[in-house]
Every structure is written in structure tokens, then in C-alpha cells.
């Protein structure tokens, strides 16, 4: 199971790295967000459209990257806590000789 999971993680990482490498070769590759590109497409389809509502609050770029990191860290933290907790529980159960399943 662990070997298989390791392999899957390596594959996932390889896909991401491969995408950067191939993507970087494209002309004018800035790795801009696809959401932004979609909104540019809106502007092309309907040049007269004006967004009628703006962001309530827009974080400065450096703060934004920090908040993105915070989001990932909170998610990974809770997920990691859960996985570690269950793994520890399972191991403790297996070590106790009297624990019959």
C-alpha cells in the first residue's frame, strides 16, 4: 500500500513538474490564472460589459500569497493531523496483544 501511494505521489508531482517544463516553452508563458483568462474572453465576447460589482477587499499581492499559503497550511495541517492520529491509533491497537478484533 505504501509503495503504491508513493508511486502515485511521484506521478502527481511528475505531472505538475512536466507541465511547468512544457508550459515554459510556450511563447509568452506567464502562468497567468485561467480564471483571469476566462474574464478576458468575456471582454472579447462582449466588449461593452462592465463588471457591476467590485471586490469588497483585495489583499495586496504579498499578503495574498501569504493568505494562499495560510489556506494550504490550514488544510494540510488538519488533514495531516487526522491521518497521523489514525495511523498512531491503528499501530497502538496492533501492538496490544490482548486487543482482539
Amino acid at each position: 500500500m505504501n509503495v503504491r501511494n508513493g508511486g502515485l505521489l511521484v506521478l502527481a508531482a511528475a505531472l505538475a513538474i512536466g507541465s511547468v517544463l512544457i508550459g515554459s516553452r510556450q511563447e509568452g508563458a506567464e502562468f497567468a490564472g485561467a480564471d483571469g483568462q476566462a474574464m478576458e474572453a468575456v471582454a472579447m465576447l462582449n466588449p461593452e460589459y462592465q463588471p457591476w460589482f467590485g471586490f469588497i477587499w483585495e489583499p495586496p499581492p504579498e499578503i495574498a500569497s501569504g493568505l494562499f499559503a495560510l489556506q494550504a497550511a490550514l488544510g494540510a495541517g488538519v488533514l495531516g493531523y487526522y491521518l497521523g492520529f489514525r495511523r498512531g491509533q491503528a499501530q497502538a491497537r496492533r501492538k496490544r496483544p490482548d486487543a482482539g478484533d
Binding site: L8, Q37, A41, L45, W57, P59, G75, V78, R86
Partner: protein, 227 residues
């Protein structure tokens, strides 16, 4: 996949909000019941939400030199049933709309519909369908998470197409255009999300057997093979 704040005409924004709202209300009730009836699954639910939270913060590159992020809502949909994820996804989208200027409040309904409703239901349907045909569990989970992600993006493209039809080729032409914007980032991203979801499910089957058995939404194969 977020539609940016203000980028849906008021009527569309209101309509999508009205469509999404009942799903979120039902979802909140579901989560409440789940917590009362099966408090032992609280931690797993938090972990599933955390997975979506983490995944949707990770902007991954694409082969065409743009970037986007996956949704991560497939895992929770597989474990708890699709309706639970409407609330989870809404929380993620709210965080991003309020703190990250990503998505928006006026477009929240439309984004909730694509990411927290269509995606999870698609993932769940794919899991059930492929299991019925006897596919190996890992393959089922992979396809469920991957196709759930694609369904989310196709929905977003559809929502934008409805709001901004192409002057010449109409809604269909516009849909193809928006799909073309999302597809190159989302095709590989969804594969990555599928792989990560399989990793987590593998782990759960090894160490969280008791919890999996107590979840009634789960296909038999997921729970019974665990120790």
C-alpha cells in the same frame, strides 16, 4: 474555475444564487444530523473539508503556460455523499472570495453550483456507476475525482456561455470558447486531483476502517475490505 466578482449580470447572479441556496441549506442540515448521529465521523469530515481547502489553494501550472487549481471536493462526496459537500465547498469559496479576491460574493451562487454541487454529484455518480460495473476501487475513486473536477469546469464554462453568448455562434460557440480556456489547465490538474484522492482513500482503508464502516453512503467494497 471561479467566476470573478461582478462578471455575471445581476439577473444571472441572482438566479444561480437562488438555485444553489436550497442545496446549501439541505447540506447544512445533513452535516448537523451527521454530527449528532455519528459524532465519531466528525474528524474525518473535517479532514475531507481540509483536503478541499488545501487543494483549492494550490495553483498548479499547465502545459499551455497558464495556471489554475483543482477543487478537491470529490473525496468528501465519495465518503459522505454529495450533499454534504455543498456546505464545505461554500466555506472554501467564501474564504477565497472575502480574503483572496478570488471568485466573488455576487458570483458565489454560480461558483457554489459548479464546484460544490455539480462536481460532488458527478463524482458520486461516477463512483457508484463504475463500482456497479465492477471496476477496481482505486480506478473508481480516480475517475470519480477526475470527472467531478471536469464537470465543475464544464459547468463554469456553461454559466459564462449563458451570460455571454458569442455574437456569431451563440451560446454553443461561447461555451466552446470558455471550455477552451479552462481545458488545458484542467485536464492535467484533474488527473493530479484524482491521484491524490486515491492516495487518501488508500490510507483511509488501511487505518480508518471503523469510520469507513460506519458511513452508510459508502459502497460496500470500500468499507468491507478494510481491517
Amino acid at each position: 474555475m471561479h467566476i470573478t466578482e461582478g462578471f455575471l449580470p445581476p439577473l444571472h447572479a441572482a438566479a444561480w444564487t437562488a438555485i444553489a441556496l436550497p442545496f446549501v441549506v439541505v447540506s447544512a442540515r445533513r452535516v448537523h444530523h451527521l454530527m449528532q448521529e455519528q459524532p465519531q465521523t466528525k474528524l474525518l469530515l473535517a479532514a475531507s473539508g481540509a483536503f478541499a481547502f488545501m487543494i483549492s489553494a494550490l495553483k498548479l501550472p499547465s502545459v499551455t503556460g497558464s495556471c489554475s487549481h483543482a477543487t478537491g471536493t470529490g473525496l468528501g462526496a465519495i465518503l459522505f455523499g454529495p450533499s454534504v459537500m455543498a456546505l464545505m465547498g461554500t466555506l472554501v469559496l467564501l474564504f477565497q472570495a472575502l480574503l483572496l479576491a478570488h471568485g466573488g460574493i455576487t458570483t458565489l451562487g454560480a461558483n457554489v453550483f459548479s464546484m460544490a454541487i455539480v462536481g460532488p454529484w458527478m463524482a458520486y455518480a461516477v463512483l457508484r456507476g463504475t463500482q456497479r460495473w465492477g471496476a477496481p476501487l482505486a480506478l473508481s475513486v480516480f475517475l470519480a475525482a477526475m470527472l467531478g473536477d471536469w464537470a465543475t469546469y464544464l459547468t463554469t464554462a456553461g454559466q459564462l456561455a449563458l451570460a455571454f453568448p458569442d455574437p456569431v455562434s451563440g451560446i454553443a460557440g461561447s461555451f466552446l470558447k470558455f471550455t477552451g480556456v479552462f481545458a488545458p489547465t484542467q485536464l492535467p490538474l484533474a488527473i493530479i486531483e484524482g491521484l491524490l484522492t486515491v492516495v487518501i482513500v488508500n490510507f483511509l482503508r488501511e487505518y480508518s476502517g471503523e469510520e469507513l464502516r460506519s458511513l452508510k453512503f459508502l459502497p460496500q467494497t470500500l468499507a468491507t475490505e478494510t481491517r
